[in-house]
């Protein structure tokens, strides 16, 4: 029986996702159709791409609040440059801006040795300010609406370009995190940076590239969003930060670092997207949707917390105590 519970808890993300999809499928008519799922997946991709980058950072024990601002900034740059250098080069520059913003975060966090929460709060304000600055706080629009339509095209009834990109990237990230040495090192840095540094793992460099990776992916997400909507706006992505953190944490990645998984993040993103879709289809008011997603977040985190502490106290220590003839009074 305990093994059953452990199994359920281990695969809780997959189980919750399956439950959400099943219940929504039963209640909401037309929920499990290709169109609905592809739409949901496409919308989840923006959150998912940023979440992919954040997963690495959280595992390394850092956090990035500036993802939403980078998302907006990269999108704006990719739209503004379209008339002068063409759509694809502009998109490339947009992603580059994302990576550069991430590099600024990384340099400051590693160089100044400051708490990434406050620092990325500061850079969030700065990036957002730059986005407002270069657009005069007005939305900007791209040159070719047909290209946007092509970008939003659905293939095989279910995949759009960005949802495919998101899924491919997160699977690659999973392989990288679990099967390669640099990937394992990220976990080492997250669980104990000093110990990692002592064992010859370049903790600073890993954290720096973590920020660059997160920034680049926020940039990719922003550029794709701008290409699909043919618009760049300084207010884009302001509500994304919370959604992204929630999705990653629901997927079982710890904010304290050292624990997490890319596939878990995929699950987390899909759970949140499936829930939002179902509630929107049932015209649940936005504030009730907030209550539901907030409760799920809290529930999963508390569950994670209690399981983790129970695993330590009820698993390891009592085993020693109960098997020890001295502590049990010699009656073994």
């Amino acid at each position: 029986m305990p093994r059953m519970i452990a199994l359920v808890l281990k695969h809780r993300v997959a189980i919750i996702l399956a439950l959400t999809l099943t219940i929504s499928g039963l209640i909401v008519p037309g929920y499990l159709s290709g169109t609905t799922l592809s739409l949901g997946l496409d919308r989840a991709a923006a959150i998912g791409l940023i979440a992919t980058g954040l997963t690495v950072l959280l595992i390394a024990g850092q956090i990035d609040l500036s993802g939403g601002a980078i998302f907006a900034l990269a999108g704006i740059v990719s739209v503004i440059l379209q008339p002068s250098i063409g759509i694809l080069p502009a998109a490339f520059v947009g992603v580059l801006v994302g990576g550069l913003s991430g590099a600024i975060n990384g340099l400051l966090v590693v160089g100044l040795k400051v708490n990434s929460l406050v620092l990325t709060l500061a850079t969030m304000l700065i990036f957002r300010a730059v986005a407002h600055w270069i657009t005069n706080s007005q939305p900007v629009s791209g040159i070719d609406i047909m290209f946007s339509l092509a970008m939003a095209q659905i293939y095989l009834d279910i995949f759009s370009i960005r949802s495919t990109l998101f899924i491919v990237l997160i699977v690659l990230l999973h392989v990288w995190l679990t099967r390669t040495i640099p990937g394992r090192n990220v976990f080492a840095v997250g669980s104990n940076p000093t110990a990692a540094e002592e064992s010859g793992i370049p903790a600073g460099r890993i954290i720096f590239f973590g920020f660059v990776f997160a920034g680049s992916l926020a940039g990719v997400a922003g550029v794709l969003q701008s290409l699909v909507t043919n618009t760049g706006s300084p207010v884009f992505g302001s509500e994304l930060t919370v959604a992204v953190i929630a999705a990653v944490v629901v997927g079982g990645t710890r904010l304290e670092g050292g624990r997490g998984s890319a596939l878990g993040t995929l699950g987390g993103v899909l759970i949140m997207a499936a829930l939002t879709m179902a509630m929107e289809f049932q015209s649940v008011p936005a504030y009730i949707q907030q209550v539901v997603s907030g409760l799920i977040l809290i529930l999963l985190v508390v569950l994670d917390r209690t399981v983790h502490t129970r695993g330590r106290t009820a698993g390891a220590i009592p085993l020693l105590v109960t098997k020890n003839p001295i502590t049990t009074g010699g009656k073994t």
Binding site: L119, L121, A122, S137, G294
Partner: protein
């Protein structure tokens, strides 16, 4: 006494270090006051309206609402609770309920109920962070979302308007020539300062933030102290929200948006460490005054809003960078 003397002797033995650390020491103690004086001087020379009683009264009034939150947020940072991101929700709770309940139970009971319910939200935060050990960012983010949703559901998700003009008159009016809001802010700040710097609770708060395990071993009720910081912040935000609602005579659900970051900015700029264990209410308020004066000067100079965001971001980054630099030297 002799110990102190020998300490200073040893310090001055190496002249190079002594000179450096004395300068840094001086900077860390007087840096903020110097900055405030500089801004005041610059403001008075550059703008004829800056150094007038009217303008200062404006600054005071506008900083009072956020100042009440700052007092609470100081406790969260000092106790090592990182930050309370549920402030927008608790402010909205205070504002929406203190206006929405007016017709039913009268203005004063409505205000009290609103603040009490905000405190309840804080105690849920506190229970999660202090007793269950959930990461403060996630806990306050999640509970904030849930609480905001519930408050909105309670009033039907609409903007609430005030129904009692006399209470609005009182809040907007003056007592002994000082605006009532400012008076309430000053009283809150005094109480907060007394608790943090003069009471056993404050000593416990500093001890818990400085070294959690050591405080626990010294029989400090660390869990309660940590939880208490979130209750204090929520109560402060509730009061602040109630006053904001009464001043504006209308409350929308997003009324408190951005207040959490403004409060964190002020506290961090004031030199209170995000790592906990160090800080005081006057320091945080000095940070707030500096930020408010700077913003005021920028507004008078006609600096565009995005640039102001840019400057604020750099200010936060600089403040945390300095905090970590001072920490390394063991001064702050």
């Amino acid at each position: 006494m002799s110990e102190i003397a020998s300490e200073t002797d040893r310090d001055s033995s190496s002249e190079r270090f002594a000179r450096g650390s004395r300068l840094v020491d001086l900077l860390s103690k007087t840096g903020l006051s110097l900055a405030i004086v500089t801004v005041i001087l610059y403001g008075s020379f550059s703008s004829p309206v800056f150094f007038t009683a009217g303008n200062f009264l404006n600054i005071l009034t506008s900083m009072s609402i956020i100042g009440i939150v700052v007092v609470g947020m100081t406790f969260v940072l000092v106790v090592g609770g990182l930050a309370d991101l549920s402030v927008p929700a608790t402010i909205a709770c205070g504002a929406i309920l203190s206006l929405g309940l007016q017709p039913i139970i009268g203005p004063v009971p409505a205000f009290i109920v609103a603040v009490a319910l905000a405190g309840l939200i804080g105690s849920v935060n506190g229970a999660l962070v202090g007793y269950l050990g959930v990461n403060p960012i996630i806990a306050t983010l999640g509970i904030g979302t849930v609480a905001l949703g519930i408050v909105q559901a309670a009033v039907g998700g609409v903007i609430v308007y005030g129904a009692n003009p006399s209470s609005a008159e009182f809040v907007k009016g003056r007592l002994f020539g000082i605006p009532v809001v400012v008076l309430i802010f000053l009283i809150t700040a005094l109480i907060g300062h007394f608790i943090l710097s003069r009471s056993f609770w404050g000593r416990w708060t500093l001890a818990t933030g400085g070294n959690y395990s050591a405080a626990e071993a010294s029989a400090v009720p660390v869990k309660a102290v940590k939880a208490g910081a979130f209750v204090i912040t929520a109560l402060a935000a509730g009061i602040s929200g109630g006053l904001l609602g009464l001043t504006l005579q209308s409350a929308r659900p997003l009324i408190g948006q951005g207040y959490e970051f403004s409060a964190i900015t002020a506290v961090v700029v004031g030199g209170v460490s995000i790592m906990g264990g160090f800080g005081s209410v006057p320091r945080a308020i000095a940070g707030l005054i500096f930020v408010q004066l700077l913003t005021n000067v920028m507004v008078l100079e006609g600096v565009r809003t995005p640039v102001q965001g840019f400057v604020l971001g750099i200010l936060i980054a600089g403040a945390v960078g300095m905090d970590s630099a001072l920490r390394k030297r063991g001064i702050a």
